[in-house]
Symmetry: C2
Subunit: 343 residues, 2 copies
Amino acid sequence: MTSLRDVAERAGVAVSTASAALNGTRPVAAATRRRVERAATELGYRPNVLARGLQSKRTRILALLFPAPRSGFGLTEMQFATGAAEAASELGYHLLLSPESADPIEELRHLTGLGLVDGVLLMEVGLDDERPAFLAGSGVPFAMIGRTREPGETDYADIDFAATARDAVAHVAGLGHRKLAFFNLSEDTHAARYGPAIRAGAEFERAAREAGLAYVGGYRPGSAEDGGKAFEDLVGAHPDVTALAVMDDHAAVGVIAAVARHGRRIPEDLTLLLVLSSARVAGMFHPRLTTLEPPSAELGRLGARMLIDRLQEESQGGPQRRLLPCRLVVGDSSAPPREGGTW
Amino acid sequence: MTSLRDVAERAGVAVSTASAALNGTRPVAAATRRRVERAATELGYRPNVLARGLQSKRTRILALLFPAPRSGFGLTEMQFATGAAEAASELGYHLLLSPESADPIEELRHLTGLGLVDGVLLMEVGLDDERPAFLAGSGVPFAMIGRTREPGETDYADIDFAATARDAVAHVAGLGHRKLAFFNLSEDTHAARYGPAIRAGAEFERAAREAGLAYVGGYRPGSAEDGGKAFEDLVGAHPDVTALAVMDDHAAVGVIAAVARHGRRIPEDLTLLLVLSSARVAGMFHPRLTTLEPPSAELGRLGARMLIDRLQEESQGGPQRRLLPCRLVVGDSSAPPREGGTW
């Protein structure tokens, strides 16, 4: 049997360094880690993660609970997962992608009962989500990407909707617009109590008021067809609106078609912003839309790091709370309002 | 200490059923599984996956090697992962999402050396990918979503490009088109030796020839700007082209803008097809584009199932090879060619 000492000797490092390199218990320079791994392979040494896990009661495995993709799923949700997996990997952890069934609490009971994972990362967190209370009650360490209405002592990383709305409003106010409309996420594609919709709606209204802009809210189109109808409604009731922020990509498609039917143009007759869409998606529109791009990979990374901090007891204090704003990426759909133009 | 017998008694099932329900060693009706899990929770019984893994030398964990997202990454790649995770979960396995670094072989050496995973699932497989040879040499069970130039004995699930091209060509030929152009994936965003680009190019050319259609290939625009330029080039050299299939979403944006600059319309003057894009993405274009949607989740599911079959030695025969065609979703960009129209 090859011992860890043999591996350390062949790699020319201390036994503690060889152990850290193979077990990921503390950071080791990449070149050193590779040398140790090569020595282990050459000597046929197989560290056994299971035996180690039995000893330490730690598996260094985290589970990301991944809801069944709904129609609105895209790049953002994938980047939560890849960001979390990357951060975990850098810190010597592994990330399980655990699909959620119709009964997430049963699923959690099953998953945490297996003794397989050290902690759980939640995403798509509802305002009244029951998963955090279950996990807290079970004593399973966890963190959230997103947050409930009252996150209490739970660690979370979420979008800073207040800062995002302020940035969006400052952008359109800076161009000289005096009235902003906001199309929120639809209640069909997203649960009515889905946090981002509630928070974005409230924060856009507040930011517009604070900046002295007139504001029109209350629309929630979830398809191209509904987006077009909502736009006709909007300009019928508010012919002086010159700027519109839309949270749903498909609704934006309908808005653009409706603008064209009026014989009008973007951005000359309407400044159009996408909210919570990637610049990649915004670049598929013509013209390329200004967007507020969510910091998805960063939120995934932060969530994993918070959870690992907690597991390693490096943070024993109060809850870790991090809010990151969306990034404003100015496209070709932003311009000053036309003088005296009405719909 | 609560024993498995206690759990079985409380749940009113045989010990072997309780074991199967908690260990996932064979399928158990969902209602029974839930009853056993509830009994286990109530009695404080904790099956230990690690102790079980040590005994059986199996962890029931698979790793999906997930490459660093490149610009072209989207829904398709996410659906490989979620499909694989779902299939694994249904069969009592867990899926690790393992991000790949710059050196995938070192990464694999590290990952498989840990003793953590029973098998590996590869995606984004290059024609001359070196990972399959490494895994075969290491004796680690694996399967591929995609395939190398010569997959040999390896299990794989991939897109059926021949059937996909035939379906696309039959669609445009059925509308009465006589000449089809094809814009392939760009060499910038995809490695030159990326299988889908090579196979799609060859199969579209072959399918067009077999259907008696004139064919124009060789274009590989990877951005909206390049898509527009390629289109100008195309109609300059082939003013009689009436149908175009495009593999890159952003290139399609440029094509649509170029058509508008000519004062022409889709689909009246050009039938435009997206290839390898989801209907969701195709629905963001105006008009909604006809698309050949990849069976991404199905391929992810198939890959995981093949690997698990192999691990459970249910398939000891020759390699498992499954090819699935893209699904033709007809949008508003398909129409018969205009009589005698040229560019």
